[in-house]
Symmetry: C2
Subunit: 453 residues, 2 copies
């Protein structure tokens, strides 16, 4: 192990150059005009995989290609699928960036550019670990299969079909993903659960066209007024969601888990200040981390209707609508709650407006088995590399690929992420702390060893 | 009187040609590029006034010009200011018009074009009456001062200053306006009251930028959620407005007035069907006409926040807002209620969001004295011309010029309108029924006589 770790240290600069090169490619999957760049990023990844000793192949899908790179020579050892993605979010508002998003800069110990944290920089950690093992030990202690795609930022529309079509080729005992964050800078973190999602849109229709609010106001239902009443009814005074049966199936977190979550340092005032919010808020009886990790929530994501420009216009709008999404926790069933949501809204909506509910899909929550061997191996590897016990957290967001891997490959996922809490993924000046990157590569190299035993 | 009426009948075709000519001018005051057209319409009106025997002058204002045309030779008789406007609304969506909005068409007994009802066609009624009197009797039984402006559709920004600057020249006993509608086709109508207006905008600010609703949802206040709660709180279960003290100063309609309003035919189902609304709605305990005429209301005119495009985006929006306007009834004080509204919202708004309230102005309600001599004269004139007792109604909209005339000139207003209930003012295929126009001109000519006695 010492030689592997030494190799990583000796090759820091070279490995950083990998990041500099791949991050120059604007592989923005959300923009069709960057399709060739996504392909270039996948091809570059293929070539790097081959160079470090993996057997790699680019596969076409219905959309952007994927690369599969394997090293399966550890007879009798378990097989791990390492998933990541080489596509990135658009750069967004360039005026908010301190430099060109696709011209990587190292400053204050951070690599700053689009993709540095999400997810190019994190994919490279694992390839560094593989390179170090193969260069020094000429072997890997486990069998690995890399699956690197180019559509994560557009919700991986072709990953499910690809997994199904290549289920044998990709068969594995467990999946490893580094696409999450650290609870604090320098604090290694294992994410063991994510929330699910149920996304709806409510549209209310009143008069056939906008009405003069003077001549007609007070005589027919105003869809915008009705909408606010419907939406306001979705929470009670304690901030609990009032969709019928919403909490029925919730797998309540254990007292032990809640205690562990509450033990994580979090200053509410500082948390709110960081977000620029006047204060924290949410369901009564739960701490801030509990509210975002173990509790289901309902948020209006967008609301619209009537005259939305500057100034004043006196109309009763003909229609109004809102996008409403719920984050679900383990054991809540998105399909069942979708039906419950519709029934709740229908029951509460007066017949003086016409109601339409659109579905924008749902995804399941995910909980990794906490006592799994990979989880314990990761704990050990992270402790050794960072010199600190890892934090165990959940993530409030949704990762539909996690239940997908479980369903198609029958494999659970280990989420070890190395993006700092201020990495600004998807935002301007996305960055990753280089010390975390180096420790992360070492942790990954050590993980390979622990996973084998 | 017979000669005057006969003259009107003999000159129908000629007078219709006036409308055809003036309605060809696209005097759209809301569009700066039509400034010359507004001026042309005012100049044309000036020339017509001179041609029929009035003494006319075009006056410049800070915006579009106005024309003042007088005939004040009835010594000892009262003086009436006849107000109207020659500017029009934009044509809107051309695809909804059956013909060019500025190429007048006569079809099914209606003149169809922009301005036919609002207000060119109605201004011409009065000029026809003047022409008939002066051509036959060589005199007017009263003194008249026409004040025709070109900015009504942009809320008459220069009318107040003009009135103040020309208060002596425009001094009068009463104002007559034909810019309202008829309760039904062929049913002459006197409008004796209008509602006031108080227009606000609520803006709520949460986090400094949109947040990922998964990672952060449930931890800080969502401004869109809070907004719906605030707005929903503005009505109680009976549809009454809950702004503190909202009803304190309301001048309740008398039992007699309510009885008169309820006696007007109105089929709720038909009313809702005409508006394309699934049903009527509003404050409990009041009929549909009462709700739009004698009751104050609160409507959301526009609501916005977060992701408003097609599809789904999972954010906690950084802000959300709504435009909210209230229609006020006599004796409610817009200024006082503006303060009450702000205080109500501030008291109910949680400190987890930052609140901003914008003012978009307020206007007073107006009630004409029901027992005035002009009102009785109009009743008689309308009855004679239409062969039917006029309907007495209020209007739910606001006409800020009414309290302005009262304030600056000390004169009350008589509102006799000849636009039919389906005239579609401001909309496509605006029209006026020619028979109502002819009866309206005769009624006006008769009104001059009754006003003199």
């Amino acid at each position: 192990m010492d030689a592997v770790v030494q190799y990583l240290r000796d090759h820091q600069a070279e490995h950083l150059d990998w990041a500099r090169v791949i991050c120059r490619i604007p592989s923005i999957s959300t923009k069709p005009e960057h399709a060739d760049d996504v392909r270039s990023a996948i091809t570059w990844t293929h070539d790097l995989c081959e160079r470090i000793g993996l057997t790699a192949a680019v596969h076409e899908t219905g959309g952007h290609p994927v690369v599969v790179a394997t090293h399966c020579e550890a007879a009798g050892a378990p097989t791990y699928l390492i998933y990541g993605h080489m596509d990135v979010q658009p750069e967004g508002d360039l005026s908010l960036w301190d430099a060109d998003p696709f011209d990587p800069v190292v400053k204050d110990g951070k690599l700053i550019c689009r993709g540095s944290a999400d997810d190019k920089g994190q994919v490279l950690l694992h390839l560094r670990a593989v390179a170090a093992w193969l260069a020094t030990e000429k072997r890997l202690p486990i069998n690995v299969k890399f699956l690197i795609e180019g559509e994560e930022e557009i919700a991986s529309p072709n990953l499910g079909p690809f997994l199904k079509d290549h289920a044998d080729e990709l068969a594995c005992d467990h999946v490893i993903i580094s696409d999450t964050g650290m609870y604090a800078d320098g604090w290694p973190t294992i994410t063991y659960g994510t929330r699910g999602l149920l996304y709806k849109e409510i549209r209310l229709f009143g008069p056939k066209h906008d009405l003069h609010s003077g001549s007609f106001g007070g005589t027919v239902a105003n869809p915008a007024n009705v909408l606010t009443e419907l939406l306001a009814s979705l929470h009670d005074a304690d901030g609990r969601v009032t969709v019928d049966g919403f909490y029925n199936d919730v797998a309540e977190a254990t007292a032990a888990e809640r205690e562990q979550i509450r033990a994580l340092p979090l200053d509410d005032a500082e948390y709110a200040a960081n977000l620029g919010s006047p204060g924290i808020a949410g369901e009564t009886g739960f701490s801030t981390n509990e509210r975002r990790w173990i509790r289901p929530t309902l948020d209006i994501n967008g609301i619209y209707g009537g005259f939305m420009q500057e100034g004043a216009n006196t109309i009763v709008p003909k229609s109004a609508g809102a996008k409403v999404s719920m984050r679900l926790v383990p054991n809540q069933d998105g399909g069942k709650l979708s039906t419950a949501f519709d029934a709740t809204i229908k029951a509460r909506c007066p017949d003086t407006v016409r109601l339409e509910i659109l579905n924008h899909g749902h995804a399941d929550a995910y909980m990794a088995p906490l006592d799994s061997k990979p989880m314990q191996a990761a704990r050990k590897a992270l402790q050794e590399a960072f010199g600190r016990e890892p934090a165990f957290i959940r993530e409030g967001g949704s990762l539909p690929i996690l239940p997908m891997f479980r369903q198609v490959l029958g494999a659970d996922c280990l989420l070890i992420g190395f993006a700092g809490p201020n990495c600004n993924a998807h935002g301007p000046n996305e960055n990753i702390v280089l010390e975390d990157v180096d420790c992360g590569a070492e942790a990954t190299a050590r993980l390979f060893k622990h996973l084998a035993t």
